[in-house]
Symmetry: C2
Subunit: 803 residues, 2 copies
């Protein structure tokens, strides 16, 4: 844990330069616009600890897989997020000295990530070895309005001398990936051009053949006036620059405006890239830095209108949650359905790939509630477009007839992960993709999505599950052998409850979806089943048989689901019994010891009860929580949020807050000593969930027709722990927004904004009351503490919090 | 399968040059003497497919571990068998042409591995591009008498020209390991020297700092007379040579004698290495090639006297078994207890390490029966000396109080393997090391070994098992979670029967050994328990509790042990149901599919019933064989021999022969398409076992005191499937040689030689009779087809084979 960053509600502030932490700060202060992004490193040369990283979404390199022992079926490559050309560089030479904060005295240093307005700012005074002092003020952002560009305002002022200062703005494509498996370089140069104050370089990725043109143009002001300057073009291998020498006087500020663009062949014909880059840069430089920044601020203000969470009485928490929301919005905007949410976003390159099940399980609900419906929809469409690859992936593992297994890690739909117990066995991810469709349709009511895309994906996933289970003559049940559940501290287990449940649930939901689509659009349904050779009767019969006779490990005595077969053979003990100094166990225990222990890395049975809370009684969830929570070490950043949400829902407020704290400031405080590699982008969504679904108790609840309601009620009475098969629902189901907010003790109040089906609400919770403001032009009826409440357009209701 | 090698009872013969198979032939024709060895490659330059490999036993490099995803506990390095300096090289230049069989026409080519006499020979006529023809005849061997040296006789004769021929005998230390993880080189040069007709180079391994001096000396004969020659010394980086130019006349043979030595700092002070090498080479060159070869032949004749297996009526089988015996004797001689039996011996470098559980489970019985007792004893002492490392290894995995886990792969006792499911979980290897002590004592009667070394190892291994199990409150039994059994097509399973059984057996045997050692040498016992802090009462009490209440998965219906918990949840089907073209499954199925299938890589439950046949009824073994055999794919070369032996013992002669054939000519026929990497040395012992323990029915049987006999008899009657705890046996147990030979249908007869407690026997089995010849000066009483038979000194008995 590190506490060197200043706590502030809207800014991340580094006061005075922390050399040793520089790579951590660079991660935290990363900026991006969903299409481009980069780490918060310096424009001028820095010979100290730094990891330069500038990334272009969707551009990747298929790095040769590295394994110790090859297992049949491993993918040939691991798609790496590519460190692209460094476009921010501006070398500063003052007579014979180079400005380098590693070699000079630094004072008044301040680096600020302004989250409200979306830019990075840095100030300092540097005293060179010669005694010369300069003051620098630099501002940089990636524009979310002109989202293939960024701009820099770099102001430099001699404090105690007059001198010629040489300024060398450059683009450097000779970059390396720190995470490269064999230390290879990934880019080849295609062409480069320089002109007065401008420079362009076009690089091509090896193997994948993506072209990226990076361009810059430079303008200079002295004394507030644009000045003409002499510029000497420089070209090296993969490097272009303009060297500009200026007379600078004591006390006079020289301002360098550097505009950068990055255009890729994902969006342009690669033959025209440099031409287009030139046009683009002309356009933005004409617009100018100030106008660009003004637009940036407005765009961010718009985002915050529907995204912000305000916490009163706890600046650290306020800063933490805004940081998470800010980074999620920087990483993914939903503009382009070919993109997704990398585990490190634009803040680092570790782990590679851009898409994990984190997207569906953790991030989707955030975008569903805070962004336009199309944003979440594009996340679904991304998977829809990769269905063909998922089918190929399943084929490689021996599945047939259109069965799909979505990859563990991917860039273009192909599996990249190479660890058998994960790659081949952590197949519950397939269920999360089905669940995301359900989640989206439930939240938005967009049933047409099922017709157009959703059902096709659901059938393909269901086909996988139908083939993946096998009939156990011993148990007279369907079983699923050799899987890894969400708890990766168990490998190759049999009948992981979560996986079995989400598999059976997928089959159920697919049957429902078939029935629904048949009603909604008979013609499209006929086309679909013809195209994918869906043998309705036979496949549904098999699916129904599996749903009816799936094995779910269960302990009668404790009335809990068992994480997997044989779980009770373990020596059960609470995490608190682990001897001091032995945590985290993944750094202190050998892998086999972890595996045979009862300790749980991340929510597993509880992940299932979080997803399927609506299918289980409250008491039953509580029994499972009480059984599993004490054995959970939360050594995945994706774990505490689920426990926090369940704890909130079970009324265990202290536990909920404790769990919330585990990830609220994960990167800001470098909680796991790994933020220097980049931020934990996807787990940031988990913190948001802990606030909105946990403290806010936000759910989308089934408003069932009467007949169905009776069945559910009866099942609850009988304390049934498994689901209830409902008769087919002829019309669309009505889902309702549900809220049960309470304010954590340590806070005065908190508020969050959510969108729900066209409405925008602000939910403000104090220790006493909850106020819900409806910003929209229509009234909304929701369920607040089990009561139906209607809020008129553009008005609010306030209710005391029930004790 | 390839059949290009000529079948011959005593020789491996390649008639005409098979360029594409050259690396396979090089593996097969490897020669060695237990201390040095190398592949059967050419002396002269060869620009075609070749893998040069010359190895010095015990000299290794700790290559940086390569993994895809690091797991805590993985070793930092993997000890690699080192490709050492090439000492055999002799470049031949005829005017402006280099002799290179890849670029000239070759006729009358013949390469022969003479197994009877222990050398490699090669002849050919080469026609160069210029039309010049030369005849070459080369002989090479590693001396088993002067076991740090080798010698070459290389004769060259111009057939159609007179010319100056330049001969360059060299030593080249600039070699690479093909199996290097990061393509690094492993040797540094220390010094080099040349003299008239001599050259020396001393290299040092990086990191481990082994020094190896390689020396050569050259003599030349023309027309049968030793000639003086002009020699130009050549030195490059890691390379020394003498360039010699000779006038050669049509039809006249020029003979180059090249003597080589390899001395390592394992056996000499590294400061004196080159001096010692010089002395050594002086000595052997004075002895001369012919005398050295004569001694070699005699030494091999001595080995064959106690090793040979003669098969009449099947040349392929005859060649196969002699090849295996030959290679085993080349690989390990038992002279040096620091050495062991690498999986590829001196025939290649793949897999690295020198010691696997293969040594104890497969090789030990071969050396026990065919070599002096000290050879097998040295294999045991090797592990004894590494006990400290095994304790450290267990500590790294969290075990305490002197618990030892022997490594999966090692060179110096440290674990090298890096695949969690093997490294940390394939712990049954620990049991094999305990079993080897039992096996050795049973065979030799050397109970003093228990006193001096064995008990200490047994206690350390037992301590591991006692800590590795845990009490299952659910089962009210001890369980062992998260293991990989011998069948590596199951990973991280619970309660692998074989592992549980050998663990419990180790505890039982340790208790027996404690009681025995207390009787044999009270004083040494007291010293030992004091030194290792053995709390006799407490540790034995715990061990007894585990022995009494260990969980063994068992199927009541089928009356078979279950390979692991949950095995019956699998879809059971015979190997014959695997669709065509999908075998071997490890090349056609993804790993997860293999894991969840019922298919068994190698004997697992059956391995246990082979080791512990004497503790199980015949009918019971049969039931298990009938259950598991059809599901076994034998994709490990260590598997068929176990099935073959059991099939023989169950009277299933056809199955026994079928299984025997699976490995009898594994490398000679390149059965698995991988002999080019080197031969499967340790599995060669398996073939020997299939003949001697299988067809020969050789066992060592318990001659129990009367009281114990009754107990066992009773248990057999009751069809008890688990072991019987016998009351302590006060005196030494008498073990007896047991034989039940039968001759496979395809053979006219076979005979094998074995040593047993000072006796040397030849057991000759025809279709009708068995004749046992006792070569020793004392009579021996053995059990032949359940009858006690006494054979007088230096005489034989013949008995008809019972039908």
């Amino acid at each position: 844990m590190k506490h060197y960053l200043t706590q502030d509600p809207w800014n991340i502030v580094e006061e005075s330069f922390h050399r040793d932490y520089n790579e951590i700060t660079e991660s935290v202060m990363s900026i991006g616009n969903g299409r481009l992004g980069g780490r918060g490193s310096f424009e001028e040369k820095f010979s100290g600890k730094t990891m330069l990283g500038h990334y272009v979404a969707g551009v990747y390199y298929p790095d040769k897989t590295r394994v110790g022992w090859w297992k049949n079926g491993y993918p040939e490559y691991f798609a790496k997020v590519l460190n692209a050309a460094n476009w921010i560089g501006i070398d500063i030479d003052i007579e014979y000295e180079t400005l380098d904060l590693n070699t000079c005295e630094v004072r008044n240093f301040r680096r600020v990530l302004n989250m409200q307005e979306g830019y990075l700012e840095r100030q300092f005074v540097a005293r060179l070895k010669s005694g010369k002092e300069v003051e620098v003020n630099a501002k940089r952002f990636y524009s979310i309005v002109d989202d293939e560009s960024g701009a820099i305002r770099y102001a430099i002022k001699p404090l105690n001398f007059d001198a010629k200062i040489t300024i060398t703005p450059y683009i450097d494509g000779a970059v390396r990936n720190r995470d490269a498996n064999y230390d290879e370089t990934f880019w080849d140069e295609v062409r480069k051009e320089t002109a007065y104050g401008e420079a362009y370089i076009e690089l091509r990725t090896r193997k994948t053949g993506f072209h990226v043109a990076t361009g810059m143009c430079v303008e200079i002001e002295q004394g507030g006036e644009k000045v003409d300057y002499q510029s000497q073009p420089i070209k090296y291998e993969k490097y272009v620059a303009n060297r500009i020498t200026l007379d600078c006087r004591e006390g006079q500020e020289t301002v360098i405006y550097k505009y950068g663009v990055n255009l890729s062949s994902l969006n342009y014909d690669s033959d025209t890239l440099i031409k287009e880059a030139h046009k683009y840069i002309q356009r933005i430089s004409r617009k100018g830095f100030d106008k660009m920044l003004f637009e940036q601020k407005q765009a961010w203000a718009d985002k915050w209108k529907t995204n912000d969470i305000v916490i009163e009485g706890d600046v650290a928490a306020q800063q933490g949650i805004r940081f998470n929301i800010f980074q999620l919005n920087q990483t993914y905007t939903g503009e382009d359905e070919r993109l997704n949410i990398g585990p490190k976003g634009f803040t680092g390159e570790k782990y590679g790939g851009s898409t994990y099940w984190d997207t569906e399980a953790y991030c989707l609900p955030f975008y569903l509630s805070t962004a336009d419906q199309k944003v979440a929809r594009n996340l679904l469409i991304y998977r829809y477009k990769q269905l063909g690859k998922a089918i190929e992936n399943a084929q490689k593992l021996g599945f047939r007839a259109g069965a799909a297994l979505y990859p563990m890690v991917t860039m273009n739909g192909e599996e990249c992960h190479n660890e058998w117990e994960i790659t081949f066995e952590e197949i519950h991810r397939n269920g999360a993709i089905a669940y995301a469709i359900f989640d989206y349709v439930r939240y938005t009511g967009d049933e047409q999505y099922l017709v157009d895309y959703g059902l096709e994906v659901l059938i393909a996933i269901s086909r996988f599950w139908s083939q993946r289970v096998n009939w156990s003559t011993k148990k007279e049940k369907y079983v699923m052998l050799g899987v890894t559940g969400p708890n990766e501290y168990e490998n190759n287990v049999n009948n992981n409850w979560y996986t079995n449940y989400i598999a059976a649930w997928t089959l159920r939901y697919t049957i429902e979806a078939v029935n629904k689509v048949k009603i909604l659009d008979q013609e499209k349904y006929a086309d679909l089943i013809d195209r994918i050779h869906f043998r309705e009767e036979k496949e549904i019969e098999k699916a129904t048989h599996i749903v009816d006779t799936m094995h779910f490990p269960f302990d009668e005595e404790r009335q809990v689901y068992l994480q997997q077969d044989g779980f009770l053979d373990k020596e059960l003990m609470p995490v608190s019994d682990i001897p001091k100094g032995q945590r985290p166990i993944n750094q202190n225990w050998s892998w086999d010891r972890i595996l045979r222990s009862c300790f749980i890395k991340q929510a597993d049975v509880l992940q299932g009860l979080y997803f399927f809370e609506h299918e289980h009684g409250h008491d039953f969830v509580r029994k499972n929580f009480d059984f599993y929570e004490p054995m959970t070490v939360h050594e995945s950043s994706l774990s505490p949020c689920v426990h926090s949400i369940l704890a909130s829902s079970l009324g265990m407020k202290e536990k909920a807050y404790e769990m919330y704290l585990r990830t609220a400031r994960l990167d800001l405080d470098d909680y796991n000593n790994d933020t220097e590699d980049g931020c934990h982008i996807t787990s940031m969504a988990g913190t948001w969930l802990a606030v909105v679904k946990g403290f806010g108790g936000m759910r989308v609840g089934l408003e069932l027709p009467k007949e169905q309601k009776e069945i559910v009620k009866k099942a609850r009475k009988e304390n049934k722990t498994e689901w209830v098969i409902l008769p087919p629902i002829p019309q669309s189901i009505n889902y309702q927004l549900v809220l049960r907010p309470y304010c954590p003790e340590n806070w005065q109040s908190f508020s969050f904004k959510i969108r729900f089906r066209g409405a925008l609400l602000d939910v403000i919770t104090t220790q006493q009351n909850v106020t819900i403001h409806n910003f929209s032009k229509e009234s909304i009826t929701l369920c607040l503490y089990n009561e139906e409440v209607t809020i008129q357009p553009e008005s609010e209701v306030t209710t005391p919090i029930p004790s």
